[in-house]
């Protein structure tokens, strides 16, 4: 390398320029470190230090008035969460309820519509856009729109229900309807996953289907024996991502229902409980303990993604080839 570098030198090169080039070459490692330094600084400030400190905080009784070192109380926060905190169970139940419906329903809608769009129907691009546009709507705007859309008296949905002779529902103020309203809002954004599924479906090699057709396979056979098995990794991966995201649902609920969680706190999801403890009650140690529990749940789910990744990595490669 050094020899060829020297051979390339022309007479017109000033000596400082040559020296600078050689310096660059000798100090590649240093340059590598320099290039990743901003990220690494960010990692220390925004990931590593807060993570460790959060763990520490969860064993202390750090509150708004605490001066100096927060008092160490061991597992007291955790025992309180599991034995006394009624809202812990409630918020966990609400979150699981929300997840249990919104995540599978989103996947089912996304997959079915992607399947239909993949039939290469005419006007497919227009339909794809129409289904995808709601996912582009900023979450705050989407939530505010739904607050109006579901408004008991002036919202579209109830006025429509009245028009067709059905009973209007108090979507955002009746404890039975709050969670379904949140699920409805999340379903409106299934377009993102639909696009992912569509890309996956389009990368399934055509000859597999041709082979099946030659063997006399019907459309149903192709779906069950080719499409679904090849798509399972993508579906499974999106399922886990949906669960991880769903456990952290916050903004929609905060805007639609408010921090209290609505009537009978039917909309109090886990993140809202953490937020209230931290930024309303200023019980930072307790909120940290709550967040550690949520982290552990997400961590286990993430491990599941990582350990099953060998099943979907193949797919990523297939897609890269196409793009």
């Amino acid at each position: 390398m050094q020899a060829s570098l020297k051979a390339q030198r022309s007479e017109s090169d000033t000596s400082w320029k040559v020296r600078l080039q050689e310096w660059w070459f000798r100090n590649r490692a240093l340059i590598g470190y320099a290039f990743i330094f901003p990220w690494f600084a960010g990692f220390i400030i925004f990931d590593a230090a807060p993570f460790v400190y959060n763990l520490y905080l969860s064993f202390t009784d750090y509150q708004i008035g605490t001066v100096g070192t927060p008092p160490w109380i061991g597992f007291e926060n955790y025992t309180e969460i599991f034995t006394e905190d009624k809202l812990f169970g409630k918020s966990m139940y609400n979150t699981l309820y929300y997840l249990g419906f919104s995540v599978p329903l989103r996947l089912i809608f996304a997959f079915l519509i992607a399947l239909i769009l993949n039939l290469r129907v005419r006007g497919m691009e227009l339909y794809r856009t129409l289904f995808y546009v709601p996912s582009v709507v900023p979450l705050v705007a989407a939530t505010v729109i739904f607050a109006g859309f579901l408004n008991t008296r002036y919202g579209f949905l109830n006025q429509f229900l009245v028009l067709i002779g059905a009973t209007p529902v108090r979507w955002l103020s009746s404890p039975d309807a709050i969670k379904p309203s949140l699920i409805l809002l999340s379903l409106w954004g299934f377009g993102g996953q639909m696009i992912i599924f569509l890309a996956g479906l389009q990368s399934i090699p055509e000859d597999l289907y041709e082979a099946a057709a030659i063997d006399g396979g019907t459309g149903w056979h192709r779906l069950i024996y080719i499409t679904v098995p090849l798509m399972t990794p993508t579906i499974f991966f999106n399922l886990l991502l949906g669960l991880i995201g769903g456990f952290q649902v916050f903004e929609q609920v905060f805007i639609l229902i408010g921090t209290h969680g609505g009537a009978l706190q039917a909309g109090l999801v886990y993140m809202l409980h953490v937020y209230n403890k931290a930024f309303r009650d200023f019980e930072f140690g307790y909120a940290a303990a709550l967040s550690v529990i949520l982290f552990l749940i997400i961590f286990v789910l993430t491990l599941m993604v990582v350990y099953t990744s060998n099943r979907w990595v193949f797919y990523g490669d297939a897609q890269d080839d196409e793009a």
Binding site: G32, F35, W39, F131, V136, V137, V144, Q159, E251
Partner: protein, 284 residues
């Protein structure tokens, strides 16, 4: 195998029926948003369905700019957007380049750390970060929102760049180096111009995450109205001060937040499919 034309016909009709009904259902909230944004104040409180407003109140749009400091909200949001884009373009590409092309001791360990941070949920960092920024007196300022973005603190973007840079043939890199180009020069003159697709996809992500961010502005800027972003302004119009009779203005505001996103996505569509797919197969 020849399909009965009647069966084929039926199949086609049912496909279009499902797609059309589905698309209408998806579009209704947006249509209703546009429609409500054009209704006069006395029309929004009529308890009867009226899809096409009569009269059409275009004046709602200029009125919102009078009623709310929209320009200030936009400026504040743009501060965060610009910080995001800078981070996505400079430190993130440099780091992605280093991970892809510059051999340095411990590179794999650092890359492993990078991947691990993609799995760290925000909730376990939220409280310490707030306490930290409170301690150094940065709450109620843009600092906590700008600093991580300017440092390119986004493992996902770096990962995307690294993957893309690894796909650029080694020969190009070598010949540039032999011709005496510095690492910085290779990054700037060769890798950046070749990376338009991935730059476009990451830029769209960076823009939309900054544009949509709610939790961070809420925590750090919530008590400082001067620095409210569009998302906070919209939430306030709806939540704390909102009454049913300002539904039209709320929808005008929503439209103001939606349209720029649609424009960005429209122009970035081409690159986005690959970007979204990569995102979907790696991280949601």
């Amino acid at each position: 195998m020849i399909e009965d034309p009647r069966v084929k016909m039926f199949r086609h009709i049912s496909i279009y029926a499902v797609l059309t009904v589905g698309a209408i259902v998806m579009m209704v909230p947006l249509f209703w948003t546009v429609s409500t944004s054009l209704k006069t104040r006395d029309k929004i409180t009529i308890r009867r369905l009226e899809l096409i407003p009569d009269p059409i109140a275009f004046e709602n749009y200029p009125y919102l700019f009078e009623a709310r400091p929209i320009f200030r909200y936009t400026r504040n949001t743009m501060v965060i957007v610009v910080a995001s884009l800078f981070g996505a373009w400079v430190p993130c590409t440099l780091a992605g380049y280093a991970f892809a092309r510059i051999p340095f001791p411990g590179r794999n360990i650092f890359f492993g750390i990078l991947l691990a941070t993609m799995m760290l949920p925000y909730v376990v960092r939220l409280i310490p970060l707030f306490l930290f920024f409170d301690e150094i007196g940065w709450t109620r300022t843009f600092g906590p929102l700008i600093l991580p973005r300017v440092l390119g603190h986004n493992a996902f973007y770096i990962f995307l760049y690294r993957q893309f840079f690894r796909g650029i043939p080694e020969d190009i890199y070598d010949s540039a180096r032999i011709d005496g180009c510095s690492e910085f020069g290779v990054w700037w003159r060769i890798f950046m111009p070749m990376s338009r697709p991935v730059l476009a996809a990451v830029s769209i992500f960076a823009f939309s995450f900054a544009w949509n961010d709610f939790l961070n502005p809420l925590i750090y800027l919530g008590s400082n109205k001067e620095l409210w972003t569009l998302a906070l302004g919209l939430n306030a119009l709806q939540g704390f001060e909102g009454e049913d009779n300002s539904l039209n203005l709320i929808m005008v505001f929503s439209m103001l937040m939606i349209v720029p996103m649609l424009v960005v996505f429209y122009f970035g569509q081409k690159h986005l499919i690959s970007g979204v797919t990569a995102q979907g197969s790696l991280k949601g």
